[in-house]
Symmetry: none
Subunit: 282 residues, 2 copies
């Protein structure tokens, strides 16, 4: 009775999709570490395709031997065998729009609408990002980073449609160890939330058409009090421009009535990380 040992007798999935399915179906019965690995593998398939046992184990936070156990528990002979599945997947696929349109065309009526909505928003986001890549002034971006890096505390200003960006900045700055205060204007306390700012701090203000009056007003107040203002906005005609020491222009594309926020997010992230790194230099 030796040797039968592992779970599935040779019934290991031979392609990525079946593997994915198997993993999903087993997610409730897997031991902790194996589950952890399964999750990692689905999130970083390229890493599994190219990495070494030791490297992947480290990134996934498990022991090397766990990878082998994992592969065997799925029916493979060893990790190398499992890795082959991940590699095959990368070999096959190359990006093409042709394929995408084809898929869209083949989508049955029932799902067609959902498909085109998703395609539309994803498309708008990609366009925005592409456009930003060669429209943002690096000169200004560097200056913005300088300004924020010098500040003691960064006050984050963004209302309505762009509030999510300001909220994300609060998260990112926090994680990076940069003191930041999100002016969320709760109970209409915006002015009071900003009241503690001095000229040794800085304001990061975000606003797009139609410009929320609060943001413009508070930015103006800050400027009058000599607090450095960095602005992210969509044109030279924005009310923020007059209050800003440095301003960055981002033109987002829209789909239907909704404009993308992707480019602004990317820009905000670059600002946050840039600021933290510049501070670390000191």
């Amino acid at each position: 009775m030796e040797e039968q040992a592992e779970t599935m007798p040779g019934a290991a999935p031979q392609d990525y999709e079946s593997l994915r399915a198997l993993l999903s179906s087993r997610r409730d019965t897997m031991p902790k570490r194996l589950k952890q690995l399964a999750s990692f593998a689905m999130q970083h398939p390229e890493e599994v395709a190219f990495g070494t046992v030791a490297g992947i184990a480290e990134h996934a936070g498990v022991q090397p031997s766990t990878l082998i156990r994992f592969a065997k528990s799925l029916g493979y002979e060893g990790f190398s065998h499992l890795q082959q599945i991940f590699r095959d997947r990368l070999r096959e696929r190359f990006p093409d729009y042709r394929e995408r349109l084809q898929t869209l065309r083949e989508t049955e009526g029932h799902h067609l609408h959902a498909a085109s909505l998703l395609e539309g928003f994803a498309g708008a986001a990609v366009v925005s990002l592409e456009r930003m890549r060669d429209s943002v002034s690096l000169e200004e971006l560097s200056r913005a980073i300088e300004t924020l890096a010098k500040a003691d505390t960064v006050y984050l200003l963004g209302a309505r449609r762009v509030f999510p960006i300001a909220a994300y900045c609060a998260y990112a700055f926090g994680k990076l160890g940069v003191r930041a205060i999100l002016i969320d204007h709760i109970a209409q306390l915006g002015p009071e939330q900003l009241a503690t700012a001095t000229d040794r701090d800085a304001v990061l203000a975000i606003s797009f058409t139609p410009y929320a009056p609060v943001t413009a007003d508070l930015a103006a107040v800050a400027a009058r009090r000599n607090i450095p203002v960095v602005a992210i906005t969509d044109s030279a005609f924005s009310p923020l421009v007059t209050s800003a020491d440095v301003w960055l222009e981002v033109a987002e594309a829209d789909f239907g009535a909704f404009r993308s926020l992707s480019a602004s997010f990317a820009l905000a992230m670059a600002l946050a990380v840039g600021t933290a790194e510049k501070r670390a230099e000191r």
Copy 2:
């Protein structure tokens, strides 16, 4: 005078396109076996990316040692180093990537850092969006839209990193005339904010690794009370999956320690608009 040995002093191409260029420029001056190998490599790049020295040597009809000589003659430390270039190309499977890097390389030192940060975050966003386009299940997306369209009120659940998405949904649903309540968990009142929800409403829960416990907990509470739960999450192993009636998978790419949110945003927008339109049909 030993050790200088190889042709180019460390000036090895760092990306596929430069390598390609170097190879064609040397086409006429290369010795027979190296030329043979160069030609093979250009014709079977995947094989070079995935294969072993012995395997590739056999296919290309040369000795294993020739591969090492080949790599060194191009300025690499060894074959493994050269192979990395081929692997990177498969990882970053996007057409104009090359062009991007070129621009980056031309950027002057002063702004280089800002430029690469921006490029990195924009790149991660685009990768996420592309990936989502062929990984999201339209079937599930349609079901999610159905579920939300039937609901009286949509309760929005998202904490920490993904809070901005939930906040944006609140904005979008509001504009579209769909009643929605953002559970912002202010003063730790999350459970109370959700208390008024009934089985005629629905919850839209969003959470990615590392999953914020609140979100999982509240989603579980909702499920127990028979409130339909739609989840946006990053893998089948997410704690949200067990509570969800429908769940949508989005795997975001990251740059440095920060993961993109672009794909999730696009998906959330599609959900919101899809929901509003479906309601209008009635």
